[in-house]
Symmetry: C2
C-alpha cells in the first residue's frame, strides 16, 4: 500500500475537538482567559510501568493518532453545545470564539511505530502553544495505548509460534467494533499474517482470513453435504471447520473431498491430540498438502505448548486474548508537561520519578546488533546510539508521508530480532537498562530544590 | 433527550457491510450459491458463562447495535474490493451482485437495555433469511458484549457507592477512543452521574464532568496563582485539584478562595486519611459546602472500603478499572443458529449445553417484587412472569422508537433494586435459578437423538 492519508474511523474527522476529557477544554478556556494559551509548552508521552507479563513493548497506533490530530477542530454545533454547559456559560464570548477557532499548529516528535520501547522513556513529544498541547492529551493516550498493548501482546505470540501463520480473529471480542480495526493493524505490525475483520483488511490492504462457522455445517442436513457445498462454491479457497459433530470423522470427510481442499480448522477439544490424529488421517488419505489451522481461546502460553510439543499445526487463529490484551488490558501511559517557555516542569511525587525538559532517547546496540540499553537525554544533547524520536509534524503539518504499514511491519521485525535474548522468554522479567543524562539529573534536582524552597 | 435516531460512530453508517468477520461473508456467498440464502433462520445471542467476579449482568449496547444493523449495506468500492480477493475471485458475478444488494430485512427480538440478565438465557434473537441473519453475527456481538461488560461493572460500583456521585473518567484508557463513548453510555445506564468525555456527554445529552489536570497547576509559578486563575475563569464551577505538591497545603489554599469553590479533587495518596484531614480543614475554614471528589485507580473494592470506613467522600471518578472492565475484560457472548425453516438446530458439545428453537425468557418475582428465577421456553409457549424479549425490529424496520437513554437508565435502576440480596455482595457467587421448559428439553433430546442416529 502506498502513502495514503491516515484512515479516520470517525463520522466527521474534522469534528474531533470535544473527543477529549472535559478538563482539557476547561483548562484551554482557563489558559485563554489567563493570557497563557500561547506559552510554548512541551508535553511528553510515556509509559510509567511495564504491564504484567511483559518485558518489552511494541509502540503502535501513531498513524491514526497523528492523522486525527492534524484535523482536530470543533464543528459549529459542538461549540454551540459547549457554550450552553454550566461551566462555560459565564465565559466571555470571545474566549469561546478562540476555543472554537483552535487548531493544532504545533510540532510532534515520536518514536516510529513498530519500535520496541520501554517504560520511562519518551515515546512522543508535543511542542505547541499551551492550549493546543493540552487539548490533545486524552485523544493521544486513547489512540496510542491500546494499539501498543495489542502489538506488544502480538509480539509475544509471534515469538513462540515458530514461524507458523498467525491470524487475528478477535473482532467480536474487541471493546466495540472499532477496536477490531485498531487490533488488526497492531497485530499485523507485530508479525501477524492477517485478520478476520474484512473491512480492516480492505482498509489496511492486508490479507483477510476466514473459513466457516459451525452454523454453516448445521444449516445443512449433514456434514458431508455442508462440506461439499462449500467446496463447490470456493474450490481451492475452502478451509473446512471439522469439529461441529465428531472432529476426526469431520477430518475424514474433509480428506475425501475432490479436488483436495487447502486446509481444515479445529476450534475445540484437545488440540495437541486432535491435530496429530488429523494429520495422520490426512496423510494416510494422500492429503499431505492439507494444512491444519487451530483456534479457540488461544494465547501465547497455549501456542507455545503446542509448538514445543510438536503438534502438527500450520496456523493459529487468535481472538479474545489478543484483542483485549487480556492479561494486561490497560497500562499507565501518561502525557505530562515537561517544559513551559523554556522552563522545566514535572509533577513531584516520590513514587513516580520523572524528568523535566524536552527529551531524546538514544538506543545503544552491542557488537551483535542487539539492544544494549537506552540513554535518555535532553532534546538538545548528543549521545551515542540511534536517536529514536524523529520529527513527525512541524507547524501542524506532516514533515513527510508517514511510513507505510509494510514499512512499519518491517521495522518491527528488525526490532524484535534485535531484542536481547533474556527478554524473549514468556516469563522474562522486565530488565532493560535505561539511563538518564547528567544534565537531566541536574535539571530534576534543580527543579525539586526550587519547589521545596518556594513551597509552591 | 427525545427519541433521536441511534447515533452512529462510523464514517459511513451505510457501509458497514464488511465490518464483520470474513467467514460471515464467505458463508453468505456459499448460501447464495447453494440456494439456501432465503431459508428462514433464527439465531440467538447469549452469554455462555458468568465472567469472573460477577453475579449478574446488565444488558447494554442495543441502541448502537440495532441502529447500525438497520443501515447495513456495502458501498460500491467495498464490493469491488471483495470481488478481487482470492476466495471470491471465482464466484459468479451474479452471486457477488446478490451479496452487494444485501440488506437486513429480518426481525429482532431483544431484552430491553438496562435489564439484569444471566448466562444461558436468550438476550436477542434474529429471525431473517439465512444470509442476512448470518451477516450480523460479528457486529452484534462486538456491539453488545462490551457495553454489557461496562454496565455490569458499573452496577457493582453503584452498589457500593452509597448514593455518592459516580463519574466515568476512563476515556484515555479505553480500547481506542470510540470505546470511551460506549463506556460513558453504559456507565450512565447503570447509574453513573456523568462522564469526563465531552463529546460523549454532548451526543448522549448527559452531564459532562471535569476539573483540571496537574499540568494546570504546574503551568503557573505556584499553586495559589494556579487556583486563583481557575477560580477567576470558572467561578462557581471551579473544582480544584489539590494534590500536585502537598495535598493538605493544597486543601488549605483551596479553602481560602473567595467566593468559596464548590469542590476539591484528590487524585493520589491515602484517600481515607487525606479526605478526613481535608474535610477537617475545609470545615474549620467555614467551607462545609465544599465537596470532596476523589479519583486514581479506583474500583468497586476500593470504593466500598472508603464508604465502609466512612471517609468523607462526596464523589468518585472511576477510570481504567471501569472502562476496561479490567477484572473481566471479555466474556463468552455468542450468537448461535437455533432454528432453520422451523427445524431446531444447535451445536452438540457436552461442555456447552444449549437449546434449539426460538426462545422466550420469563422472569418471575417473589412477593417482594425481587427476581425469583427465570424460565426459558420456546418462543411460542406461555409461562408465568414477565416475558423479557420484546420485538424491536420487524421486516428490517424499528417496531417503534427505541427507549430514550433516561428510560433505559430508569429501567436499570428498577432492575437493580429488584436483585435478590444474595447477589448483591461484591463477592457473591453467581447463583440465580434458570430453568428450561419441558418442551425445550424434549426438543434438545430429540435433536440429539437424531444427530446420534444419523451420525451426521
Amino acid at each position: 500500500m502506498s502513502h495514503q492519508p491516515p484512515i479516520s474511523l470517525w463520522p466527521d474527522p474534522n469534528a474531533l475537538g470535544p473527543v477529549t476529557d472535559l478538563y482539557e477544554l476547561t483548562m484551554i478556556v482557563g489558559y485563554l482567559s489567563s493570557g497563557m494559551a500561547g506559552k510554548q509548552a512541551s508535553f511528553e508521552l510515556f509509559v510509567r510501568k511495564m504491564p504484567p507479563n511483559r518485558a518489552y513493548l511494541v509502540f503502535a497506533g501513531l498513524e491514526q493518532a497523528v492523522g486525527d490530530l492534524l484535523r482536530l477542530a470543533f464543528s459549529p454545533e459542538q461549540v454551540e453545545a459547549l457554550r450552553g454547559w454550566p461551566m462555560f456559560r459565564n465565559v466571555p464570548g470571545e474566549v469561546m470564539d478562540a476555543l472554537a477557532a483552535l487548531r493544532f499548529e504545533g510540532d510532534v516528535w515520536a518514536i516510529p511505530e513498530g519500535t520496541v520501547v520501554f517504560p520511562g522513556e519518551t515515546l512522543l513529544r508535543v511542542t505547541a502553544p499551551l492550549a493546543q498541547a493540552q487539548w490533545v492529551e486524552t485523544y493521544l493516550v486513547a489512540s496510542l495505548a491500546y494499539p501498543t498493548l495489542v502489538a506488544s501482546k502480538a509480539a509475544r505470540i509471534v515469538s513462540v509460534a515458530g514461524g507458523r501463520a498467525l491470524l487475528e480473529y478477535g473482532a467480536r471480542r474487541g471493546h466495540g467494533p472499532h477496536a477490531g480495526f485498531l487490533a488488526a493493524r497492531a497485530a499485523y505490525i507485530a508479525g501477524f499474517a492477517g485478520t478476520s475483520l474484512a473491512e480492516a483488511a480492505r482498509l489496511l490492504g492486508i490479507p483477510a482470513s476466514g473459513t466457516m462457522a459451525h452454523s454453516w455445517v448445521q444449516a445443512f442436513p449433514d456434514e458431508p453435504s455442508a462440506f461439499a457445498a462449500f467446496a463447490r462454491t470456493f474450490g481451492g479457497s475452502s478451509t473446512l471447520l471439522v469439529d461441529t459433530y465428531d472432529t476426526l470423522e469431520g477430518v475424514r470427510r474433509a480428506a475425501a473431498i475432490e479436488p483436495p481442499i487447502p486446509a481444515i480448522r479445529i476450534d475445540s477439544g484437545d488440540l495437541d491430540d486432535l491435530t496429530r490424529r488429523a494429520r495422520a488421517i490426512l496423510d494416510e488419505s494422500n492429503r499431505s498438502s492439507v494444512k491444519i489451522m487451530v483456534s479457540g481461546d488461544l494465547d501465547e502460553q497455549r501456542i507455545a505448548a503446542l509448538v514445543e510439543a510438536g503438534a502438527p499445526v500450520d496456523g493459529f487463529g487468535v481472538g479474545t486474548e489478543l484483542i483485549t490484551s487480556r492479561d494486561a488490558p490497560a497500562m499507565g501511559m501518561v502525557y505530562k508537561l515537561v517544559e513551559l517557555d523554556g522552563e522545566g516542569k514535572y509533577k513531584l511525587s516520590p513514587a513516580k520519578k520523572t524528568y523535566p525538559m524536552a527529551k531524546q532517547v538514544f538506543r545503544q546496540r552491542d557488537a551483535d546488533g542487539r539492544f544494549a540499553g537506552d540513554h535518555v537525554t535532553r532534546a538538545d544533547e548528543a549521545a551515542e546510539g540511534e536517536p529514536l524520536l524523529v520529527p513527525i509534524v512541524r507547524g501542524g503539518r506532516l514533515v513527510g508521508p508517514l511510513p507505510t504499514l509494510e514499512a512499519v511491519r518491517d521495522r518491527c521485525r528488525e526490532q524484535l530480532a534485535a531484542l536481547p535474548d533474556r527478554l524473549r522468554p514468556l516469563d522474562a522479567r522486565p530488565d532493560y537498562p535505561i539511563t538518564y543524562s547528567d544534565r537531566l539529573e541536574a535539571d530534576a534536582r534543580r527543579l525539586m530544590d526550587r519547589v521545596n524552597r518556594a513551597g509552591i
